[in-house]
C-alpha cells in the first residue's frame, strides 16, 4: 500500500543524486528489499517506471534484489540466516523470530528489513 510513497522517495533521491553528479541519463538503479518488509518489488518497479517518465531516469534499468532474513542472537551469538519454514502460519511475517540455534527471542535483525537504494549508474 505504501509502495507508492516509498517509490516516490526513491525516485526523488535518484534524480537528486543524478543531478548532483551532472548526469545526462540514469542507466541503472539497484535496490535491495528485505523479505520482512511489506514492500512488493513488482509494485515498486511499476511505480518507479511511472515516476521516472519524462525524467533523465526514464530509460533506467531497475534491478531489485530480494534480501533474505538473517539475525544475530544476543544469547548464544549465533549469526546467520533463518529458514522460513512452511509450518509458519504466515511465512513472511515471522512474528516469532527466534534463534534457530538456542531458540532465544533476544535477537537482532541483521538483514531482511531493508529498503535500500544501493547504487545508481549514470551517464554524464
Amino acid at each position: 500500500m505504501h509502495d507508492f510513497s516509498i517509490s516516490r522517495q526513491i525516485a526523488s533521491e535518484v534524480i537528486k543524486r543524478a543531478n548532483e553528479k551532472k548526469a545526462s541519463q540514469v542507466l541503472e538503479i539497484k535496490l535491495k528489499i528485505g523479505e520482512l518488509t511489506h514492500l512488493n518489488p513488482e509494485q515498486i518497479s511499476f511505480w518507479l517506471k511511472e515516476l521516472f517518465k519524462d525524467t533523465l531516469a526514464e530509460q533506467a534499468n531497475i534491478k531489485i534484489e530480494k534480501v533474505p532474513v538473517s539475525l544475530q542472537c544476543k544469547k548464544c551469538s549465533y549469526q546467520g540466516k533463518i529458514e522460513i519454514e512452511e509450518k509458519f502460519y504466515y511465512p513472511p511475517l515471522l512474528n516469532f523470530i527466534f534463534c534457530p540455534h538456542c531458540k532465544s527471542e533476544k535477537i537482532k535483525i541483521k538483514s531482511g528489513d531493508e529498503c535500500l537504494l544501493e547504487r545508481i549508474k549514470i551517464k554524464r
Binding site: 505504501h2 510513497s5 511489506h38 511475517l93 516469532f96 535500500l116 537504494l117 544501493e118 547504487r119 549514470i122
Partner: protein, 222 residues
C-alpha cells in the same frame, strides 16, 4: 598536477546505500529518547477505519486523566474531527494530517511531539491513520502498540490482516455488544490473534457500554 576530468558520455557507478525504511526507524529511535528524556510513555493506537480508536482513546483519557497528564496526537488524512472529539476531555491534542499518506511516520510524529509541552505530560496516545497494513512498517517510537478491532469487521478480520498484530502488545476487540447481531465470536478472534502472536493480551471491549476498558488499562500497565 594531473587533473582528470570526466568527459561527456562517461559512465559512473555511484554507491548510495540509502535505506528508506531505516530512516524512519532512526527517527523513531530519536522520538523514543525524546519521550524518555521527558519521562513520557507513548502508546501507538492502530486499527481500521471505524473500529473505535478515537472512542477508546476518549474513554481511556477520561479515566486516566485523574492519574496522569495526558496528551493525544490524532492522525488522519484530512479533517480535525478526531482532535475535536478528544478536546472535549480537556487534554492537549495535536492533529496530524498526512494528506495522501496511508500511515503516520516517525518524522511527522517528531514534529507533533515538539509542538507539545512534553515536560508537562506523562502519557501520550498516538492515534494512527485507520489502516491495517502500512503502520506495521513504520514504527513511531512509542513504547507500546495498541490495536483496536471490532466485531463489525467480520469473523475473518484477524486472519486476513495478520501484519498489524506483529508488533502489537494489547488488542481491544470493540463493539462486543453487537457480537450476537453480527454472529461473530470475540473468543474466536482472541484465538486467531494468539495464533499470530501469542504474547498479545487481547480483551473484549464495548466502548459504547463502557465495558472492558479497565482490562485494557491494566494490560497497558497504566
Amino acid at each position: 598536477m594531473r587533473i582528470i576530468k570526466a568527459g561527456e558520455g562517461e559512465i559512473l557507478d555511484i554507491e548510495l546505500e540509502e535505506d528508506f525504511l531505516k530512516k524512519n526507524r532512526q527517527f523513531a529511535k530519536k522520538n523514543k529518547s525524546l519521550l524518555e528524556q521527558n519521562n513520557v510513555r507513548a502508546i501507538d493506537v492502530m486499527g481500521s477505519i471505524g473500529s473505535g480508536k478515537t472512542s477508546l482513546i476518549q474513554l481511556l483519557t477520561s479515566i486516566l486523566r485523574e492519574k496522569f497528564r495526558i496528551a493525544v496526537i490524532a492522525g488522519d488524512l484530512t479533517t480535525d474531527i478526531d482532535a475535536k472529539r478528544i478536546e472535549q476531555e480537556k487534554v492537549q491534542v495535536v492533529q496530524i494530517n498526512t494528506g495522501k499518506e496511508c500511515h503516520l511516520d516517525a518524522n511527522l510524529v517528531k514534529k507533533a511531539l515538539l509542538s507539545l509541552a512534553l515536560e508537562r505530560i506523562d502519557v501520550i496516545f498516538i492515534e494512527n491513520v485507520g489502516n491495517l497494513i502500512c503502520p506495521a512498517d513504520f514504527p513511531l517510537g512509542a513504547h507500546q502498540r495498541l490495536v483496536v478491532i471490532s466485531v463489525t469487521e467480520g469473523p475473518w478480520m484477524v486472519v486476513k490482516h495478520p501484519y498489524i498484530f506483529k508488533d502489537a502488545h494489547v488488542v481491544a476487540i470493540n463493539k462486543v455488544d453487537l457480537a450476537e447481531a453480527m454472529q461473530v465470536s470475540p473468543q474466536k478472534l482472541i484465538e486467531d490473534i494468539a495464533k499470530i502472536n501469542p504474547r498479545i493480551k487481547a480483551f473484549p471491549v464495548s466502548c459504547r457500554q463502557n465495558k472492558g476498558i479497565m482490562q485494557v488499562i491494566e494490560a497497558l500497565s497504566l
